[in-house]
């Protein structure tokens, strides 16, 4: 599974959990969760290099 597909899968999962109910804050929450997951993946997969660019 490519990284992009994996990120999309996480997004689908987050969507299924909060299902539009968060309205305005939805994007913010998704961003936090997604960036947290991706960073974690990076820590675990690549050692300690953290992606610099923001989301």
């Amino acid at each position: 599974m490519s990284d992009e597909n994996e990120d999309l899968n996480y997004l689908l999962y987050i969507t299924s959990l909060i299902d539009g109910k968060l309205r305005g804050i939805w994007k913010y929450a998704a961003r936090i969760l997604l960036s947290s997951i991706i960073r974690k993946e990076l820590i675990n997969e690549l050692g300690f290099e953290v992606r610099k660019e923001g989301y």
């Binding site: 959990l17 804050i25 936090i32």
Partner: protein, 840 residues
């Protein structure tokens, strides 16, 4: 465009998402896709709790605040997880060894035969070459041999004459290498270390030290101490003899290090046993005793005749003095011992002792003393042995060895290590719901409660000695309830009839009688159970170790099918008096007993190896010995995931009783892992085992792995086999001229396959007594690309999952502890059904 929006767009294009009225929702095909990929999402649980938490925070302020704390947490852990977990060692560290240099050479040659190669067992290989060793010794050679799997290498002090070579050839062996002379220092590492260990062993033996079995362990039988030790309920004088272990490591072609660690052996000798019990007649003694062992090798035999008044003849007295440096302290008492093979001999009672197993089953378990030496005492003892036997030099038939007088420092032996550092403890999480409840200190369990959330438990019965009253049981439960309820959930107990008394006199009975009596007492009792909570029985056991511990465990597990929690009488009384540390510890034990396989008390914040794609397995063995015969062997397995989120355990009977890692054991292990992990998409499995593998075990392991890799399930999975054992290595930290223990987490990487790590004590509290031990980790098989540094780090992280002892921690990962615990129980008693709880 932000990345999230990019993914939203992609999701809409794929038909997985739809956006209407500013709301983004899943389409039916999105849902189908999600169900399909859900098992592969690695942090699904955590995301769920975080998302739910955000959803449930109705007020905007609180929601923002929570998101902020999530961000901070992430930043913190990122910072911590980066190189900061690995710090340089700044203190001066001494090692328990001395640097030596030697001058000398040997004649070396190797021989082999087709018969030699086909023999599996090394003792069978030895039988084939014994005649050559005898011939060499009889011809006046100083000779050392090294049995390899495919050949045997001889080291001689002079050139082998033609008659030796002809003799070897006449006996169907061929020369693999012609005899040549070589400087000992130029030998390759393993050959050098083997030879020098043998040379030093012979040297110490010539100085009247006694070598214990095959180990490089040397005991001085003139250094003895008689110490009263509690065995069961009685005090017995044990005779302790002191000595030391050694190990040799080559540093380079001009120097090596000799490691020394003090040790001792202890025996309950027959004269002391007779004196303590007041047994008077030979008939009584013969009636009580079965097998007996002879010092110092513990050769087993049976007493055929005994005379307590017979004077010990002077020649026997001299024999023991000359051969073993043992001065007999008694004047009378002799016994005739017959062996399975060979003639019977007469021995002074003082030189006869009992086997540990016999003592445990007939007298009781030995009370654990605290004989371990403090760093300062150990340092001094090492020096004492070194000066007595290695200074000013060691002269042997092969070489002369000179040592540096001061103990070596870690810096001085840098050449034999790749690197060293100190690891800081991993982050641990104590709540599924609140990600902020995390710490690097395991004791945070008492602050946050368990990751599995609150648990309700019910105490239907307390089995206790009859002198503990119903009122005392109630006081104990009231104290316990208060603590348990404040940390772990709710504790209820039976309102009446909670106490099941047993008479302490039962403890003096023999094993089958105790089992029979306890069975008839407990089995008819029906245990009230509550649906919403886990019933746990409390057993109050004697203050000393007793077989009843195992008996009760098996009866309750086999008949009542509920967990039991044991507590010693002394601790029961302290809990009644509201001793808080004890109360918290005991409440935690009950909490752990109530958990299901997917409910950990705490987990690692980050998987111990990469992205949660590894499962861990610990294996143990146990063999039941009855009347010197091995009755049956059990293989014990426990598996755990990379964060400690689930644990499964199993014990399985093995058809062949053997100490070695067998194909049957491996087959059962792999089947068990496959059954339990069918839903988990793991890529790598790490198997941990105590004790390094022998050469023949590695062959079995590699053969088995090759075979299993042909099956569909294991085809693409990587297997790493890691063994761990306590080794001779010790380290001392020097601070302000004081000798201290090194810190937990100190790592020394020896090479690509081996590392040493200090996991003694709690990182915050240190070690209360004794000297820290280094665990010797060895990679026996590596299919993944994990580096030794990563293997050690994952081992270290996993030792923090020792849920039962957050204050003292453990030297082993939970999967290994669980398999060892079950192995210990199945060694003593029959367990007919799987345990209903985690045997941590």
């Amino acid at each position: 465009m932000s990345l999230v929006l990019k993914f939203v767009k992609k999701g809409i294009e794929e038909g997985f998402l739809m956006a209407e009225n500013g709301e983004i929702t899943l389409t039916p095909s999105g849902r189908v896709h999600l169900n399909y990929i859900l098992p592969t999402l690695k942090f699904a649980d955590e995301i769920k709790y975080q998302a739910m938490r955000i959803r449930d925070l109705i007020e905007d302020d609180k929601r923002k605040e929570y998101i902020k704390s999530l961000e901070n947490e992430l930043a913190d852990t990122l910072e911590y997880s980066q190189k900061r977990r690995e710090i340089a060692i700044s203190e001066r560290i001494l090692v328990n060894g001395y640097i030596g240099a030697l001058e000398g050479s040997v004649w070396i040659f190797s021989i082999s035969s087709s018969e030699y190669v086909t023999k599996q067992d090394f003792s069978a290989k030895y039988v084939l070459i014994k005649k050559f060793v005898e011939k060499l010794v009889n011809s006046g050679y100083n000779c050392i041999y090294n049995l390899h799997y495919d050949r045997v290498t001889f080291f001689l002090d002079r050139k082998p004459e033609n008659d030796i070579i002809s003799f070897i050839k006449e006996n169907n062996f061929n020369l693999v290498d012609e005899a040549k002379r070589i400087n000992i220092s130029d030998l390759e590492v393993s050959e050098f270390e083997y030879l020098l260990t043998k040379i030093l062993s012979d040297y110490f033996i010539s100085k009247k030290l006694i070598k214990i079995r095959d180990q490089p362990k040397f005991i001085d039988f003139s250094r003895r101490q008689v110490k009263k030790v509690t065995i069961g309920q009685l005090n017995f004088p044990l005779t302790i003899f002191y000595g030391f272990n050694i190990k040799v490591n080559k540093i380079n072609n001009s120097k090596f290090i000799l490691w020394i660690d003090p040790t001792y052996v202890q025996f309950l000798t027959m004269d002391k046993w007779i004196e303590s019990l007041g047994v008077e007649t030979p008939e009584e003694i013969l009636h009580l005793i079965g097998d007996i062992c002879v010092l110092p090798t513990k050769r087993k035999g049976k007493i055929s005749k005994i005379d307590l008044k017979e004077r010990i003849p002077d020649e026997i007295r001299n024999y023991w003095k000359n051969k073993y440096n043992l001065d007999l302290t008694t004047k009378t008492g002799m016994a005739e011992i017959s062996f399975k093979q060979g003639k019977p001999f007469s021995y002074p009672l003082e030189t006869l002792c009992f086997e540990k197993k016999w003592i445990e089953h007939n007298i009781g378990f030995m009370m654990k003393e605290a004989p371990t030496l403090s760093p300062q005492e150990r340092y001094e003892k090492i020096r004492e042995w070194f000066i007595a036997y290695c200074m000013p030099y060691v002269e042997t038939p092969f070489c002369k060895i000179e040592f540096k007088e001061d103990m070596a420092s870690l810096d001085e032996i840098k050449e034999i290590f790749k690197s060293s550092c100190r690891l800081l403890p991993p982050r641990l999480v104590f709540s599924q719901k609140d990600i902020r409840q995390q710490s690097t200190d395991t004791r945070a369990i008492f602050k946050y409660g368990g990751y599995a959330g609150n648990k309700a438990i019910f105490i239907p019965k307390i089995i206790c000695p009859s002198f503990i009253s119903e009122r005392e049981c109630e006081e104990f439960l009231i104290a316990l309830k208060r603590t348990y309820d404040s940390i772990f959930g709710t504790l209820e107990y039976a309102s009446e009839g909670v106490r099941i008394p047993y008479s302490s006199t039962i403890l003096n009975e023999r094993y089958p009688k105790i089992e029979e009596k306890m069975k008839s007492k407990l089995e008819p009792i029906s245990i009230p159970k509550q649906d919403s909570s886990t019933s746990i029985v409390i057993f109050v056991e004697p203050n000393y170790q007793h077989l009843i511990y195992y008996i009760i465990k098996s009866i309750i597990n086999n008949s009542w099918r509920i967990p039991d929690q044991h507590i010693k009488i002394g601790k029961f009384e302290r809990i009644m008096k509201r001793d808080l540390p004890l109360l918290r510890g005991f409440a935690l034990h009950l909490y752990v007993k109530s958990l299901k396989p997917h409910e950990p008390p705490w987990i690692l914040r980050y998987p111990s190896y990469k992205a949660a794609k590894t499962v861990y397995c610990g294996i143990g063995f146990s063999m039941q010995v009855k009347d010197s015969e091995i009755r049956k062997a059990v293989g014990v397995l426990a598996i755990c995931d990379a964060q400690g989120k689930f644990v499964h355990q199993k014990h399985l009977p093995l058809s062949k009783a053997t100490d070695y890692l067998s194909e049957e054991m491996l087959q059962k292990l792999f089947n068990f892992v496959r059954d339990k992990t069918s839903e988990i998409p793991f890529q790598r499995m790490v198997i941990y085992k105590k004790g390094h593998l022998k050469q023949n075990e590695i062959i079995v392991l590699k053969g088995f792995i090759n075979k299993i890799k042909e099956t569909e399930y294991w085809k693409n999975k990587q297997i790493d086999f890691i063994t761990v054992e306590e080794d001779i290595y010790r380290l001392f930290k020097i601070k302000n001229n004081t000798i201290l223990n090194v810190d937990s987490g100190l790592v020394i990487i020896k090479n690509d396959q081996e590392a040493l790590i200090c996991v003694s004590g709690h990182p915050e509290i240190g070690i209360k007594q004794g000297t820290a031990k280094l665990m010797h980790i060895r990679v026996e098989l590596l299919e993944s690309k994990a580096e030794i540094k990563e293997i050690v780090r994952e081992y270290y992280d996993r030792t923090f999952l020792n849920w039962i002892a957050p204050v003292t921690l453990s030297k082993y990962p939970p999967e290994l502890n669980i398999s060892q615990n079950i192995a210990e129980i199945t060694r003593e008693v029959e367990i007919t059904q799987d345990f209903t709880y985690l045997v941590v």
